[in-house]
């Protein structure tokens, strides 16, 4: 294997040029990705956020404090659900408390949007909830709070 890793002179230039172009492209396009991955943007923000979860039941939004709720399944049996059963990320799973938004608020909002879809897709026993919603208060770099609302896609068979 080391033989294959000992590149001949011409291949060295090609490899190096390709590597630099690839890395430069990843860095320069980092802003187009909400979490800026592969961009080496260290400590991009000092934002904090607070997530409040609610769910749509019969056209009304019902709070789900701490990401916990109970709902009946198709057979009428009452069941308990938790947002944290699916979402283990330390930022996203910290509901109703203000937490540091690692990698910036936009990164966490993008992750949260997908987390809502994921949870909505993985509670088949919940026969009541049609959508999940997160109301997120964001303090961007310590500035006045702004609120953003994210919703999951509608569930197919609530």
């Amino acid at each position: 294997m080391p033989g294959a890793l000992d590149l001949p002179p011409r291949a060295r230039l090609l490899f190096a040029a390709s590597w630099v172009v690839l890395q430069a492209a990843l860095v320069l396009t980092a802003r187009t990705r909400p979490d800026g991955i592969f961009g080496f943007r260290m400590f991009p923000e000092a934002s904090t956020l607070e997530i409040h979860l609610s769910r749509e039941v019969g056209g009304r939004w019902v709070p789900a404090p701490g990401g916990e709720w109970s709902a009946r399944d198709a057979a009428g049996q009452l069941r308990h659900f938790s947002f944290r059963d699916r979402v283990r990320d330390p930022v996203l799973s910290s509901l109703d408390v203000r937490v540091f938004a690692a990698y910036g608020a936009d990164a966490q909002l993008a992750r949260l949007g997908r987390a809502l879809d994921d949870v909505a897709d993985h509670v088949p026993e919940d026969g009541e909830t049609t959508r999940l919603r997160a109301e997120v208060t964001v303090w961007r770099n310590g500035r006045d709070p702004a609120t953003t609302v994210l919703a999951s896609r509608p569930r197919r068979s609530p």
Binding site: L5, P44, R114
Partner: protein, 364 residues
């Protein structure tokens, strides 16, 4: 330009230091694999919410992922031992990158950087020192891939410093101000004096610190390549990263970057000489200390037969250019060349510059 490229492509040198970098990267890969194993015990990321870059079909099952983690541990051991180390480095990098691609929630800049450096070092002859088994026929080898890893470090500095420069909140100090406000309490708990925390949490101070951080990153990207500025750039960079390590959670990024700094040392060994008076305890102690700390093999350490120049000194350091240093100047020289003492180099060199007439040219 063509000559520069050709010179870079064909450069050869002693690869002793590359072996040290390989061991450091191997240890970091080992730590990374152990972290994955610990996280797996708490639950497999593929069983809960994750955000893959690759199609879901390419995200391994729990059993396959467990096997992959074990493989990463074994590969890291091979890297550290120097046995099939280059292939192990490349395999580690590819597996690490694949794991990141399976769940971007797990993405951290230091993990991606580790994969990048491991991939690049695989193309360098980093298995000719610090390895188990018989010594290699020669340690001299091509350095182009090591230089590319150095370019990677500069690109990281430019990316990091550049993104901060373009962000008004960063360059104005707002981001640092808020970080100090958020984590000032933790600093107090850690024993940082209250007056210092309060002072650092003021807008005028964070504005200056922000500009200093940005300038540091951008200047390091260039300064590390300057023959004249390199030592100071390395010293400044070491402290820059140590301060970040002490004040932020960056996983292994500090140690990774400091390991890559080793690639910037001149590729030769024992180009300096440390002579000591074996009849004096101080001389013997200094020789033993330098032999222990001289991880980059900068010094040829040997006892002397006292002569006119050396009489009265326990230790004399002879530099590359043949000039000799004693006393504080010798100590500064040792600090300059030994990784553990390197953070002390600049203040020692500054103090030494005020001492008189302790340098002389050795003609022997």
């Amino acid at each position: 330009m063509r000559d520069v490229l050709r010179g870079w492509r064909d450069e050869v040198g002693d690869t002793y230091a590359l072996g040290l970098v390989r061991v450091a990267l191997g240890l970091l890969l080992f730590a990374s694999a152990l972290r994955e194993a610990r996280e797996l015990q708490d639950g497999y990321f593929g069983d809960v919410f994750h955000w893959p870059l690759v199609p879901e079909a390419l995200v391994p099952s729990r059993a396959v992922y467990a096997a992959l983690v074990v493989t990463q541990v074994l590969l890291a051991v091979l890297v550290v031992a120097g046995h099939r180390a280059r292939a192990a480095l490349l395999a580690s990098a590819l597996l690490g990158a694949h794991v990141l691609a399976c769940d971007r929630l797990q993405f951290h800049n230091n993990r991606w950087a580790l994969d990048c450096y491991a991939a690049l070092l695989a193309f360098a002859p980093c298995d000719r020192s610090f390895q188990l088994g018989p010594p290699p026929v020669t340690r001299v080898g091509p350095l182009w891939a090591a230089r590319l890893a150095q370019v990677q470090l500069s690109m990281i500095y430019v990316a990091s410093g550049g993104s901060k420069l373009l962000d008004p909140d960063w360059r104005g100090g707002q981001v640092l101000l808020e970080r100090f406000r958020l984590y000032g309490g933790q600093a107090l708990d850690a024993g940082v004096p209250q007056w210092l925390v309060e002072r650092m949490s003021q807008a005028d101070v964070t504005s200056v610190l922000a500009k200093l951080a940005i300038a540091t990153e951008l200047l390091l990207a260039v300064g590390l390549w300057s023959r004249r500025a390199r030592v100071f750039a390395l010293w400044w960079g070491v402290w820059f990263h140590l301060v970040i390590q002490a004040t932020s959670r960056v996983e292994w990024f500090t140690w990774l970057t400091l390991a890559v700094y080793v690639l910037f040392v001149t590729p030769d060994v024992r180009a300096r000489r440390l002579s000591f008076d074996a009849s004096r305890a101080r001389g013997r102690w200094a020789a033993r200390a330098v032999r222990t700390l001289d991880w980059l093999a900068r010094f040829e350490v040997r006892p002397w037969t006292p002569d006119g120049l050396r009489r009265g000194h326990a230790v004399v350091v002879v530099r590359r250019d043949g000039t000799a240093a004693t006393g504080l100047r010798a100590l500064a020289m040792v600090a300059r060349c030994t990784p553990l003492l390197f953070p002390l180099w600049a203040p020692l060199a500054l103090l030494a510059s005020f001492t008189r007439g302790q340098d002389a040219r050795v003609t022997a």
